[in-house]
C-alpha cells in the first residue's frame, strides 16, 4: 500500500498596510505581478476613495520602492484597474475594465503606450479582467464580458481567441483570473461557473474542476488561479474567502483561511499611535464568529483573508495572495508533509 504525500501550505509573512491616499502600502489591491528579481507590483483599485488608485512596488522583505499611476483617463492613468502582468520585455501591462484598454509601462512605471477598443468583434475587448503572457510572448487577455480569452500581440494586434458564453466545457460565465503552467497550458478562473478550466496552449479544452459549495475542494466564485513549477494549482476561492491548493490531478491538498500578522509597516503605524497600540494589546484578532457566511466572518476577523482576489507564485515558490479588503499581501509556502 502506498501513502500519498500531501502538500502543505505554511504561513510565511504579511506585507502591507492600509494606505488609502497613496504612499507606502495598499488600498484594495486587486492583482499583482512579480518581476524575475522578486519585486512585487500590486495594482490598487481604491474605489470611491480613488486617491489610492496606483501601482505599488515592494518585495517580500517589506522593502518599498515606489508607486506609479493614478486615477484618470489620461495616458498612464486608470479608473478600473483589474489586472497587471510583466512581459518578457520587462514591460508592465495593466488592464482597465472600465476604460477597456491595456496600458504599457516601463519597469519604473513610465507610460509607453496604450491600446484597446470596446466591443465584441475579434480584437475588441469588453471588461478585461486578467492578463498573462505565454511562453512565446503572446498576451492572453481575459475578455470577461465577452466570455472569451483573446490572444494578442504585446502591441494589441489580434491573433485568435477561444471560449464563448455558457456552462458547457470550454465556455465561460464572467471569467476572471488566468495563469499558465510549465507546459504553457492555460488555466482560467471561470468565476460564475464556480470552476477552473484548463486548456492547452492553443486553447483546446483539457479538463475542468470545481463545483459550487463550501466544502473542501468545492469552489464559490473563484477569482484567480496560479500554478507552480511542480504543477500544484492554487485557487483564490473568493466567495469562500480562502485559497485552496490542489495537485495537478485536482486532488485537494489544503485550504487556508488566512492568518495575517502585523507587518513592519503596520507596526510603524502602531508605534506612532500609542493609544491604538495599547488597545491592541487586548485585541483578540481571531474570535469565534457566530456566522456561517464566509464574507461576514472575514469582515470580523482581522487575520482572515477578506476577498482574496489574486494569487501569484514568486521565483522562490512562495504564494503571494492579494488580501484585497485588508490592504495587504499574505504569503505562504508549500512544503510536503
Amino acid at each position: 500500500m502506498t501513502t500519498q504525500t500531501k502538500a502543505k501550505l505554511n504561513y510565511v509573512d504579511t506585507v502591507g498596510f492600509g494606505a488609502d491616499v497613496g504612499g507606502r502600502g495598499f488600498h484594495i489591491p486587486v492583482d499583482l505581478s512579480i518581476r524575475p528579481d522578486g519585486r512585487i507590483y500590486a495594482v490598487n483599485r481604491s474605489p470611491r476613495h480613488r486617491l489610492g488608485i496606483r501601482v505599488g512596488i515592494c518585495d517580500v522583505n517589506h522593502g518599498w520602492y515606489h508607486e506609479f499611476g493614478s486615477d484618470g483617463t489620461g495616458d498612464g492613468q486608470f479608473t478600473g484597474p483589474t489586472a497587471i502582468t510583466h512581459g518578457p520585455d520587462d514591460r508592465v501591462y495593466i488592464a482597465d475594465e472600465e476604460l477597456n484598454r491595456i496600458t504599457v509601462y516601463d519597469p519604473e512605471g513610465e507610460f509607453i503606450s496604450k491600446w484597446g477598443e470596446q466591443g465584441s468583434d475579434p480584437g475588441q475587448i469588453n471588461g478585461p479582467s486578467g492578463l498573462k503572457f505565454t511562453a512565446n510572448g503572446e498576451l492572453l487577455v481575459v475578455d470577461h464580458l465577452n466570455n472569451r480569452i483573446q490572444r494578442m500581440t504585446p502591441d494589441g494586434e489580434y491573433i485568435s481567441h477561444f471560449g464563448t458564453t455558457g456552462k458547457a466545457r470550454g465556455k465561460f460565465n464572467l471569467p476572471w483570473g488566468i495563469d499558465t503552467d510549465a507546459q504553457d497550458n492555460i488555466y482560467i478562473a471561470d468565476w460564475r461557473n464556480d470552476r477552473i478550466q484548463r486548456f492547452s496552449s492553443d486553447g483546446k479544452f483539457i479538463d475542468m474542476f470545481g463545483s459550487p459549495g463550501r466544502e473542501e475542494g468545492q469552489l464559490e466564485r473563484p477569482s484567480d488561479v496560479a500554478v507552480d513549477q511542480e504543477g500544484f494549482i492554487y485557487v483564490a476561492d473568493w466567495g469562500n474567502q480562502r485559497v485552496q491548493m490542489f495537485d495537478s490531478d485536482w486532488n485537494f491538498q489544503q485550504s487556508v483561511r488566512g492568518e495575517a500578522t502585523v507587518s513592519p509597516w503596520a507596526q510603524d503605524y502602531l508605534n506612532s499611535n500609542q493609544d491604538e497600540a495599547e488597545a491592541r494589546t487586548r485585541f483578540n484578532s481571531i474570535i469565534e464568529v457566530d456566522t456561517d457566511d464566509p464574507h461576514e466572518a472575514s469582515s470580523r476577523v482581522e487575520g482572515y483573508l477578506w476577498d482574496p482576489t489574486a494569487i501569484e507564485i514568486d521565483p522562490e515558490g512562495r504564494l503571494i495572495i492579494t488580501d484585497s479588503l485588508r490592504h495587504r499581501l499574505q504569503i505562504y509556502q508549500r512544503a510536503n508533509e
Binding site: F17, R45, R48, H49, A260, E276, R280, R300, L325
Partner: protein
C-alpha cells in the same frame, strides 16, 4: 373604489403598491388588480425576492460594496436591493425600521456594521416584535451607536436603556425614570467583541492598519448586573431577554408600534415627541393593529396585514395623502424607468440625490429618525426632487425609459387623442391621479408637443384639442413624462 371576489379596483391597488411597495408598473398593477384584494395583500406580504442583482456580482464590480466602508457604498448597496427586488414590501419595512431604530453610520464610521444591521432587519423585521427587539439589543451597530459598551455593572450608561423604552417600544409616559435605570442594569454586559479596541477605532476614525473590523455581539457575564430589579411593576433577577418580554406584553408597546406603523403606512401623525399629548388620529386603525399584535403573538406582519385590510387604509381619504420620502421618490421613479439591469455608477448618483433631498440613508438626523411629512418639502428639496425625477424618466438613453414610452404609445392606441396619451402616461406612472387643472395643463402641453413633432412649427395657443397624438415623438413623450413627475401630485404617495 370597488373590490370583487375576483378583482380589485386599479386605484386601490395603486394605493396599496404605493404604500406597501414603491409604486407599481402597469404590469404589476394589472397583476394585482386581477386578484381579490385580500389575495393581493397576501401575495405582496409573502413575496420572495428572486430578481435582485446578486451580491457577488455587485461586489465584483463595486469592490467598495464588499468592504462597505463609505456611506455611499453601504447605502448604495441597499438602493440596489430596493430598486431591483421583485419583493419590495420587505424593503419598505426595512426603511420603516431604519426610521424607528435610527442608527447613524456618521458616528459608527464603518458601513459594514450598518449593512449587518440591515441584514438583521431583513430577517426579523416582519417577525415577532419580541424577537426583533432582542436582535436589535444584540445588534453591534445599535449597541455602539447608543454606547452600551459603556454600560457596566455598577456604573450604568442609560442611553440604550432609555431609548429602547422611549423610542423603540413604549413611548414616553408609559414607564418611569426608575424603570430606565433598571432596564439599563439588565443590559449591562451586552457589548461587542474586543470592546476597547473597537471603541477606539470608532473614535479615531481610521481604517489603518488593515481596514475596519466588523463588530460582533458579546455577552460579558462578568460585567452583567444579575441582581434583583423592579421593572414595570414586576420584580426579579431580570436580564435583557426578561426586560424585552415585559416590554412586549405591555399594551403600551402594542399601541406605540401600531401608531408608528400607521404614521408610516397610512397617514402622517403628530411628531413622535407629541404622542403623549395627543390621541392617535385614527383609534380604530390602531385597535385593529393592537388586536392583531396580541392575537398573533406580537407579529409585525400580522399587524400590517390587518392594517392593509382595514377600512382606514383602504379609505380614499388616505390615498395620496402623504409626501413621498426622498427614497420613495427615487426608488419608485427608477423602478418605473426600468431599474438597473446590472451594476451601474448610477446607484451612487441616485443615493447622493437622496441626501440632497433631505434623506441620507444610514445617516438619520437624530435618534428620532426623519420627521417626514411636510418636512420633506422645501424650496431646495423640491428643485432636487423635480430635477431628479425628470432626469431619470426623461432619459432616452435608458432602455427602460424607451420601453416605458413604447408601452405608453401602445396603450394609448394608434389614433389617440392628446388626452388619451396623457392618460396613458399617468397610468404607466403607477396609475397616478391628477386634478382636473393639472390634467388640462398636461393635455395642452401634449397638444403643443404633438404639433411641434408633426410640423416642427411653433405651436399655436389655439391648437385643436383633438389633434391626433399617435405620431408624437418619443422625445415629446419623454418631455411629457418629465412634466408629469414635476407635478404636485407626483410628490405624494
Amino acid at each position: 373604489m370597488t373590490t370583487t371576489e375576483s378583482s380589485t379596483d386599479q386605484s386601490l391597488v395603486a394605493h396599496l403598491l404605493r404604500r406597501a411597495a414603491f409604486g407599481g408598473t402597469t404590469q404589476e398593477l394589472d397583476h394585482f388588480a386581477n386578484l381579490k384584494y385580500e389575495k393581493a395583500v397576501d401575495e405582496l406580504l409573502n413575496a420572495q425576492d428572486t430578481k435582485s442583482i446578486p451580491q457577488d456580482v455587485i461586489r465584483r464590480y463595486h469592490i467598495d460594496q464588499s468592504d462597505l466602508r463609505t456611506r455611499p457604498s453601504s447605502s448604495g448597496n441597499w438602493l440596489y436591493q430596493m430598486v431591483t427586488t421583485n419583493a419590495p414590501f420587505p424593503e419598505k419595512v426595512n426603511l420603516f425600521w431604519h426610521r424607528v431604530f435610527a442608527t447613524a453610520q456618521t458616528k459608527l464610521i464603518q458601513g459594514k456594521a450598518m449593512s449587518t444591521q440591515l441584514d438583521m432587519l431583513r430577517e426579523f423585521g416582519l417577525g415577532k416584535f419580541d424577537e426583533l427587539l432582542l436582535q436589535l439589543s444584540k445588534n453591534p451597530a445599535m449597541l455602539m451607536f447608543l454606547d452600551n459598551q459603556d454600560n457596566h455593572k455598577g456604573s450604568i450608561n442609560e442611553n440604550y436603556g432609555r431609548e429602547i423604552l422611549e423610542l423603540f417600544s413604549m413611548g414616553v409616559g408609559n414607564y418611569t425614570e426608575e424603570d430606565i435605570k433598571e432596564c439599563s442594569r439588565a443590559f449591562t454586559g451586552w457589548t461587542v467583541e474586543n470592546t476597547d479596541y473597537m471603541t477606539l477605532k470608532m473614535r479615531n476614525n481610521t481604517m489603518r492598519p488593515y481596514g475596519y473590523v466588523n463588530w460582533q455581539f458579546k455577552f460579558d457575564p462578568e460585567d452583567h448586573d444579575d441582581g434583583e430589579k423592579t421593572f414595570l411593576g414586576e420584580t426579579g433577577n431580570f436580564n435583557g431577554e426578561d426586560i424585552i418580554a415585559l416590554i412586549c406584553k405591555n399594551p403600551a408597546t402594542a399601541g406605540f408600534v401600531a401608531r408608528h406603523l400607521y404614521h408610516y403606512f397610512v397617514a402622517d401623525e403628530f411628531p413622535v415627541p407629541q404622542w403623549p399629548h395627543f390621541e392617535p388620529k385614527d383609534p380604530a386603525a390602531i385597535k385593529v393593529m393592537t388586536d392583531a399584535y396580541f392575537e398573533s403573538g406580537y407579529s409585525i406582519k400580522a399587524m400590517l396585514r390587518a392594517l392593509f385590510l382595514s377600512d382606514s387604509f383602504k379609505s380614499q381619504a388616505s390615498w395620496n395623502a402623504r409626501v413621498k420620502s426622498p427614497i420613495e421618490l427615487i426608488v419608485g421613479t427608477v423602478r418605473l424607468a426600468g431599474g438597473y439591469d446590472g451594476p451601474s455608477q448610477d446607484v451612487y448618483e441616485h443615493i447622493t440625490a437622496s441626501g440632497y433631498m433631505g434623506q441620507d440613508i444610514f445617516a438619520p438626523p437624530s435618534v428620532e429618525g426623519w420627521m417626514g411629512g411636510a418636512d420633506w418639502i422645501s424650496t431646495g428639496s423640491m428643485v432636487q426632487r423635480v430635477n431628479f425625477a425628470g432626469s431619470v424618466i426623461g432619459n432616452l438613453d435608458n432602455t427602460g425609459v424607451v420601453a416605458l414610452i413604447s408601452k405608453i404609445k401602445s396603450d394609448a392606441g394608434s389614433s389617440s387623442s392628446s388626452e388619451s396619451l396623457v392618460r396613458s402616461c399617468l397610468k404607466n406612472l403607477g396609475n397616478l391621479e391628477v386634478s382636473d387643472e393639472t390634467l388640462v395643463g398636461l393635455v395642452q402641453f401634449t397638444i403643443n408637443a404633438t404639433l411641434r413633432s408633426s410640423t416642427e412649427k411653433i405651436p399655436s395657443a389655439n391648437a385643436r384639442p383633438d389633434q391626433n397624438a399617435s405620431n408624437t415623438s418619443d422625445q415629446a413623450i419623454a418631455s411629457l413624462l418629465q412634466l408629469i413627475v414635476s407635478t404636485r401630485e407626483y410628490q405624494f404617495v
